[in-house]
């Protein structure tokens, strides 16, 4: 009996094998590795990456672990090295832990780039930075301050406690809050929703209970701000607790239209994916070398320049974030 089952299983495998083919016809294969798949932000990044590959005539691979873990990303990058892709562009779940595997990729002659959430300069050639950390951090404090007239308690609802980007933004928020015009404002706590909708929602509800005088929440993560918008609405606190941060227009449209969130920010993830992939393509083609100060035309993104990054590596800056509010959300909510 067992032999029969074995034979059936084996022949199934053989059949599958015969029907499938795989071949890369294009010149270069560029892989985008994101924090996790099933995340609308990174789906938008992938669309931009595909556009850039279409413009340059390369092939795109889009991959990410199902949950945002660094172990999952290492496994994926190992698989990409084995496939001998030409470039790996990664949005890292950890600033340090991807360095060894990215070094192995570089040893194998693969172009190593980080984007969105960077990795240590040792493990990358270049970083594509969506925007100045300082600017993004300060901008969110300025926005919430205007909403609450520079007075009252505020809280931060972040992603995971170990996320590179969020932690740097929060440091700049705290820096901005030291300015004299914010002397009547107090950052009472920082909580972490781990970029999970239910956990972020519960953390927001917890904030309302723990801090009854809370006037505003900054959530510098797309999952967190969406969950907080829903929490404010469900708790009937629209107008009483203000909300800003970084969110996806398609997810935030509902909460901007009902007043739970007056304004929020985001760079364009489609553009981020486009620029990352385009720069990878230019480097592979040998059109640019990646030297500091080099200026180049990045397709539909216009003129860009290679600059020195804060962490000692080099980077290309995408540009300032975009402000979304009731006046423009309708035209953007269908875009991404």
């Amino acid at each position: 009996m067992l032999q029969k089952i074995l034979i059936v299983i084996l022949s199934c495998f053989l059949l599958i094998g015969m029907f499938s083919m795989s071949a890369y016809a294009d010149e270069y294969v560029i892989a985008l590795v994101v924090k996790n798949v099933g995340n609308p932000f990174f789906d938008a990044v992938a669309r931009g990456g595909q556009d850039a590959c279409d413009d340059l005539g390369h092939t795109l691979i889009f991959q990410g672990p199902p949950t945002p873990t660094v172990e999952g990303q290492i496994e994926i990058i190992e698989n990409l090295i084995a496939q001998r892709v030409d470039a790996i562009c990664v949005s890292a779940n950890d600033y340090d832990a991807l360095v060894p595997v990215m070094q192995r990729a570089m040893d194998a002659g693969i172009l190593a780039i980080s984007f969105d959430s960077g990795i240590h300069p040792d493990g990358r050639l270049l970083h594509i930075n969506q925007a100045d950390f300082e600017l993004i951090g300060r901008l969110q404090v300025q926005a919430i301050a205007e909403m609450i007239d520079f007075e009252g308690e505020i809280a931060v609802l972040s992603a995971g406690a170990t996320m590179t980007n969020q932690n740097i933004w929060i440091e700049w928020m705290q820096e901005e809050l030291k300015e004299p015009e914010y002397e009547n404002m107090e950052l009472v706590t920082i909580v972490y929703g781990d970029d999970l909708r239910d956990k972020s929602y519960n953390e927001a509800m917890g904030l309302f209970k723990s801090y009854p005088d809370l006037r505003g929440i900054i959530s510098p993560t797309t999952v967190g701000i969406g969950a907080t918008g829903k929490a404010i609405t469900d708790a009937g606190l629209i107008g009483q607790v203000q909300l800003t941060g970084l969110g996806l227009p398609s997810e935030m449209a509902e909460w901007i239209q009902n007043g739970a969130c007056q304004a929020m920010f985001l760079w364009n993830p489609v553009d981020l994916g486009y620029l990352t992939t385009y720069v990878a393509g230019l480097l592979l083609d040998g059109e640019i070398s990646g030297a500091v100060g080099e200026e180049f035309a990045a397709g539909r993104m216009g003129e860009k320049v290679v600059t020195e990054a804060e962490d000692g590596g080099i980077e290309v800056l995408l540009g300032p974030p975009f402000r979304f509010d009731a006046s423009n959300i309708d035209e953007w909510k269908d875009v991404y």
Partner: protein, 334 residues
């Protein structure tokens, strides 16, 4: 009508037969998966690539071995991933505090050992506490401690040679060092479980704990040793994992406990106890890795990969029951 259990496994000898066959089934699956992978991707039959692919998640393999033994004894340990995290964090901190790396590695193994012994002590000394409850609680406890001592920081900057453990190769060959290390440990576990009286006692406890106790087997002491072993190996896994990551954080190894149990069960180890062995667990480890590697090479999205692996796991684990019911109906009607 006979009960299902006795009709599949009438006696000791055919019990061994069944397991021999189970392992052959795994070998068959490995061959099948390899053939399909080879057809799907031109890069699969690259020797160096295959070696690297096996090495990339082998730190889990270290934990599979003791967890398989714990399952065979009829218990379960779901705290291993947190033991890995705590060992890793304390190793990194003691290195940062000025301890030489070799001693810091000893710290990791010692922490793992202590955590495992803690589990074993609670399970064996306090009557009425099941291993599910104890290790579930310990799972939160150990990771909680890791978060408290390290917070949201990462600690790294280990000496260069330390990365050799997970990234280095033997001499100029393309065999990763970690494969050799795992091989040695696996042979040790295989011998202990299958060639010593200790191993036979583990099976005896798993088959019938009460009978084992009445025949003079020190059940508590053996369980204590098993859980301590799981701690030791989790500490060792932490050493290799941290070497791979180059830094330590409290959120490493999340979800390992379930993957490890899944691999052991795929390897023919019964969570009800008494069944399975080390060779099966190792074959299942290889099978699982080849599956993920093959799916990764053809860039199957992460969510789809989860579903595919889940379906295969369910099918393979269901197989003996299907065969069993076929046999029973044959006996009845044939």
């Amino acid at each position: 009508m006979e009960s299902t259990k006795t009709s599949i496994i009438p006696g000791g000898l055919s019990l061994r037969e069944v397991f021999l066959r189970w392992e052959w089934l795994l070998v068959g699956l490995i061959v099948g998966v390899s053939i399909v992978n080879g057809r799907l991707s031109p890069h699969f039959w690259d020797y160096a690539g295959l070696m690297d692919a096996m090495a990339v998640f082998l730190e889990k393999g270290f934990i599979v071995l003791p967890v398989a033994m714990i399952l065979i004894s009829g218990e379960i340990d779901i705290s291993v991933s947190s033991i890995v995290a705590l060992s890793s964090v304390l190793m990194a901190l003691s290195f940062q505090a000025g301890l030489p790396m070799v001693l810091a590695i000893c710290v990791a193994v010692a922490v793992g050992t202590a955590c495992g012994a803690f589990n074993g002590f609670l399970i064996t000394r306090i009557p009425g506490l099941s291993s599910v409850i104890v290790t579930l609680a310990a799972n939160s406890l150990f990771r909680g401690i890791a978060y408290i001592v390290l917070g949201d920081r990462a600690v790294g900057g280990f000496p260069r040679w330390y990365s050799y453990l997970s990234w280095g190769y033997l001499g100029s060959s393309s065999i990763p060092f970690i494969i050799l290390a795992f091989g040695i440990v696996a042979v040790f576990f295989g011998l202990v479980l299958h060639k010593t009286t200790f191993g036979r006692k583990v099976y005896a406890i798993g088959n019938n704990q009460v009978a084992a106790r009445f025949s003079g087997i020190p059940v508590s002491r053996i369980k204590l040793i098993l859980f301590t072993l799981a701690g030791v190996m989790s500490g060792l896994a932490a050493v290799f994992l941290t070497s791979k990551l180059g830094s330590s954080r409290p959120n490493v190894a999340l979800g390992y406990e379930l993957e490890v149990i899944a691999i052991a069960v795929l390897g023919g180890v019964s969570p009800a106890g008494g069944k399975g062995g080390i060779p099966g667990a190792i074959l299942a480890l290889i099978l699982m890795r080849l599956l993920r590697y093959g799916l990764g090479l053809i860039n199957v999205p992460g969510q789809v990969m989860l579903v595919v692996i889940g379906i295969i796991l369910v099918l393979v684990v269901m197989l003996p029951n299907l065969i069993g019911s076929v046999r029973i109906s044959r006996k009845r009607f044939g």
